[in-house]
Assembly symmetry: D2
């Protein structure tokens, strides 16, 4: 078992620097958590998490589960069950696999970046036969390539197709509707798995309409919670696959959870306090409005790209129709180490940015503009990036923040 587990983990970590400037007073004020998740958790949600833990077999708990189920279905746009786990997004990947795939099953993973490969890696570790559809990490999954590959799989060896909606390592989004149509055109019965970890709650997502079989999501991005919860929205077709097959499973098994949820409970002890937070976050999303929230993220993504273009830097995602609305990965010019820039920004401006993952290590900085965010937080974020680039000696044209501001000042 010599493959390392995927995830955001093997990347350069920020260090407490002894660079002049990182002194106490620099750490005053809000920390800007502008990695592409976990996001800045609203204080309403943090306070909800601090409610006293209750008996997970009490009527109050049952009410909590009902509210949370209703909210998750609303945000996932599904009428089916959404399974909630204590776990990370990668746990959610594993759950999708073990509930549906038979031993020796093949899964087709569209390589959009680090996280797509991470999912493939988890699949291999669970002894699933993984086929990767290669990609250049600069765009979303190629629907026509998927169609072609499925069309060629006349024996239906491929049991599932896995794509990442918003690839958090590159800032490129896959158009899931197109993938669905491609699969339909190929007339292939494979299940459709979608990682919506960083997009859910920020970008338009339609579990039922797109006939997704398993949507994997997590708490720490658009759902505005701390990390610690993973989600699987599951179709009837996926459940059926699990009833007659699937891999050995206990913790991740959907059915006992779905059955218990019906009366408002869980088969084992759930992560009660994060569920308190989830209820509150879902209520906030309802207040904000889902469409309005999507529009806000689209607007912030556009203003961010305007800044990047002004700086004269290159955006990692090369297809304008596939820009993700939740993060923007920015390529550093040759000879400029992205992690040094991040470190300077962390030290001097009390802001965390995302590192380059996998083969993008040291090459990109990733700016998260997802979750509970607004215009002035974006202005602050872009200001920190612009000032940090200057401080790091990266050759840029100034005026990025200015250009973004001009966008934001216009009446919507």
């Amino acid at each position: 078992m010599n493959t390392r587990h995927s995830g955001e983990s093997r990347n350069p970590e920020l260090k407490t620097s002894n660079v002049k400037g990182f002194v106490g007073a620099q750490r005053s004020g809000w920390h800007f958590l502008q990695i592409p998740g976990p996001t800045n958790v609203p204080s309403r949600v943090l306070r909800a998490i601090a409610e006293p833990t209750i008996d997970h077999r009490s009527p109050d708990f049952a009410e909590l589960v009902c509210e949370v189920q209703a909210g998750l279905r609303w945000v996932m746009r599904t009428s089916g069950p959404v399974v909630v786990y204590a776990g990370s997004g990668s746990g959610g990947w594993e759950a999708a696999l073990v509930n549906t795939l038979s031993p020796g099953a093949r899964i087709l993973v569209a390589e959009t970046g680090f996280f797509a490969l991470g999912w493939a890696d988890v699949a291999r570790r669970m002894h699933v036969d993984v086929e990767v559809l290669p990609g250049d990490w600069r765009r979303g999954a190629d629907a026509s390539a998927i169609e072609e590959r499925l069309a060629a799989d006349s024996t239906h060896r491929i049991q599932a197709v896995a794509v990442v909606h918003s690839e958090t390592s590159t800032g490129a989004a896959t158009r899931i509707g197109e993938v669905r149509r491609a699969m339909d055109r190929a007339g292939h019965p494979a299940l459709l798995f979608v990682d919506a970890v960083s997009s859910l709650g920020c970008m338009d997502y339609r579990h039922d309409e797109w006939r997704v079989d398993v949507t994997v999501a997590g708490s720490q991005k658009g759902l505005m919670l701390p990390p610690g919860l993973a989600f699987n929205a599951v179709s009837e077709k996926a459940r059926e696959a699990g009833r007659t097959g699937g891999l050995p499973r206990a913790y991740w098994d959907w059915e006992p959870i779905i059955a218990a949820n019906e009366s408002g409970f869980y088969p084992t002890t759930p992560s009660t306090n994060l569920l308190f937070g989830l209820r509150e976050a879902l209520a906030m999303l309802r207040e904000y409005g889902l469409e309005q929230t999507f529009a806000r993220h689209a607007r912030h993504a556009q203003a961010t790209r305007r800044a990047v273009e002004t700086w004269g830097l290159e955006i990692q995602c090369t297809n304008p129709h596939e820009y993700s609305d939740v993060l923007t990965a920015v390529r550093m010019p040759e000879g400029h180490d992205a992690d040094r820039v991040r470190q300077i920004i962390f030290d001097r401006f009390n802001m965390s940015l995302g590192t380059g993952l996998g083969k993008l290590n040291g090459r990109v900085i990733r700016i998260g503009h997802l979750g509970d965010f607004n215009d002035l937080m974006l202005a602050a974020t872009l200001s920190g990036v612009e000032a940090g680039l200057m401080a790091a000696g990266v050759p840029i044209r100034r005026g990025g923040v200015d250009a973004a501001l001009a966008d934001l000042a216009v009446p919507e």
Copy 2:
């Protein structure tokens, strides 16, 4: 897959009753969460959980991991690593199994109650060959029976022995030191797995001294946190077993986590805010003193039994040397439904008690006296039980609280 998942889930749930009396004003004041876990989370811990989420790749996070590791080793009494998962205790069971056991491996589970069987069930679902050493649910695991069974296993088919330290369904504790000695006497190389979910931090526990190979624990009992974290303390022998074997695994794989932890990080996104709470809870345990905390729980357990004896009711655990210090299961007289008693207590006294699990369903109430607890909380708890038994018409001798109080009033 027709075995139901184990856990605390298939039991009668409390309902919001329309019994006269359960009106708004009855719900004023503190809820007494006297199930045997989750426990009453101290407000210090709740506030820690409400700290703003930070970047899990930042120096502050690395410091958090180091503190938490040091604290967990201290409370587990081990010098080895302790793996922390977002998960439930039953997830911790699964982790112990998949990291060590080869396909077709046999595990010997000592049937002490519902949770021992639950662990066996998870093992079966992971395709492990389970052998149950039968028990009557009224005492701890029988060390000599284990010795005998191991001695008979001359081919060493049994790869692991699994016992529950404090069986949360019965209130009977297993003397782990004796199990260790029994295994030594049998000269059998099986791994020793211990479920310390409800005992850790409340009862004397010695991972290294007893040469336990995997200790499974959870956040929501003696560690005074909400549910949502599971722990595996692992011996070098257990890790060695995993290096050369084990079952397919990704999320639960110890090694990437242990490796990442060394520099203070995780391979995937960890449950940051619960880790904030864990740091605080471990700090509190240090302030309280571990020995003093054990003594407190022993004292409260004894006072509780004094009350039960006064009432003339029967304690589920029949061996006085095996009373658990963290909960007391009390048998209801024939013809009296334990769940009705619990419901009345919930409705009238704003207190949750544990239900009877599995074959004890409707037969016992379980009184949790674990976690962040003190004399007056115990007095309140016993008062609620005594008044509830009376209100439910269960024939008891009064004076239980009185008898317990007499114990508590004596200078230690």
Copy 3:
């Protein structure tokens, strides 16, 4: 200025004792704050107080003020304004005086205990002419004595009569309705001032029906908040007195506050975060129901007295028609120092009780059973007192908790 300021302050303080037993582990669990205020603040209220501070000139703030005004009027049972100050209850006394009384004015204060005299003291310090109607600190204000005194005041020198609804130093309540009727019978135009600091939200109180002119209250008792806010509910007659008279005043001046409140604001910066808590506490009171809350306090007071009687101790209040529902002051037998008993209970049982104030110093312990409280909290409180009395060697009959429990177990 050699008179000391009144208040709860000059009394023996609890000391961190080095008595064997007050070790770390003793401080585990909830602290029982059973002084007669501040009370145990519900975590809902504490979390509300932790909301981010907002602009006190914003529409959100105006909404807060409106909700709080509506809630305070509801709980005070008045249709008039309720002025909220950052301040203590004694600040509220001062406000009542300086807004209404002309220089040299005389006020008649019914001596019911330490707080009545405290109010008199504040009045003297503000150069008001104070006349004290003597009392023995064991009952409420004597309505017929007030009537008699007013009838004799043919020149109407007395501008106000001040009484304490629930005298927190003695546990005796004044029947305000009877005082009102007495004043009416005397046909005297004096204003009626009532200190409802410890009764508001716990005992039936009717500002308008009883034609009270100024009701003084505070946040830290029945309103379930931390200390820090004082209230004046004011009648039109009181405001009229202020318009043409009153003492020099700025901070305490009602009129600018009432005027600003009309549009939802304050003339100076208000205690925003305590107002967040107040909104939440008022919402909780609405959920509990006011009548139901009064009934609960009456029930708890009765159960407490049942315990005291069983112990064979004497209740400070001698008139059964004047027992306060919010606290019970218990006299210690000769030769037993009440503060030593309190210290033992604090050290061993993590509970705070009220000390004897003024001439009752060392003579009584005061048990608070007000605020957000329930049956099991009461059982815990009485258990702590009973065990503490035993530990302190005070000769009592045991069984007090038992007797109280019998009361509580009976269906309401």
Copy 4:
């Protein structure tokens, strides 16, 4: 009593606008509370405020008072007592007056702006004889004018000189050291009163070195707390004045508080939970470093002025040696209503700015850059102002944020 009470109150309030754009999604993310106080309270402080209320007569409370006293003396740079009230800053003004001034006493108030006049107003309401030294609201107090006036007061009718350190209505600071020297040169025995409400903890302040007699401060500015506490640091000379004189007083009387504080208590019930927050805030200031914090504020003030200059707008304070480091008041061009600009910024950018007070009503916006603040929060604030000015059609040169950023990007 027809003078209105001073304070921040009689100014145009923000209204929930029905301007297109102020929709739910606009309110997502952090609110930027950039009025010049209350400031953005750090979450550490908010969580501290949410600790369960304790007995104000317990040893834990005494420890709290000692820590808070030590911290306040450190931040005030005094070795004398600091009296803490539940109250507003204007309550602190009143306290300074009533503890020291005899009936008919004269006080000389240097008119620096709205708050200086506010203090004068409170003094008049307390029947103090107020003499205002006129000013144009565009600079600090004129030390030489004070010297001249005192020199002319040969009979020493003037008992106190009152100046505002950082005049929150104008952004002009008074150089207190120079005022002190002027008073010394005049050889006049008047007391020196300083309002340090908005400067304390943000700008260099030296109570003892400058021989200030009463420093008035509040919790809601540089001390990073919600409003609700007022402070008086008092000299021995001021106390002596009070011992033999002063006005009628009870709540505000220093001596009972100072006496009780010595053993760690208060004469009346203090605002316990805000004191929890104060302890935390003072600990944070120690971590940040006082000098470093002053330097940070100076840097942010300079960057703000750089932006204002770039926009081509006028700063209210005309003397560069008297710029306050905590706020910048910016004059709007003729014909542009400052409150309309503020409303647009509030509606569209989720930021609160200060209104123009008194005669500056509608003329200035006040940008607060005090309290727990950092470079990116400043960038956000200036971005909001620049975009808001554009949106409001105020003619400005763009590039203000840019200019400020250039300042911030330079290594310190």
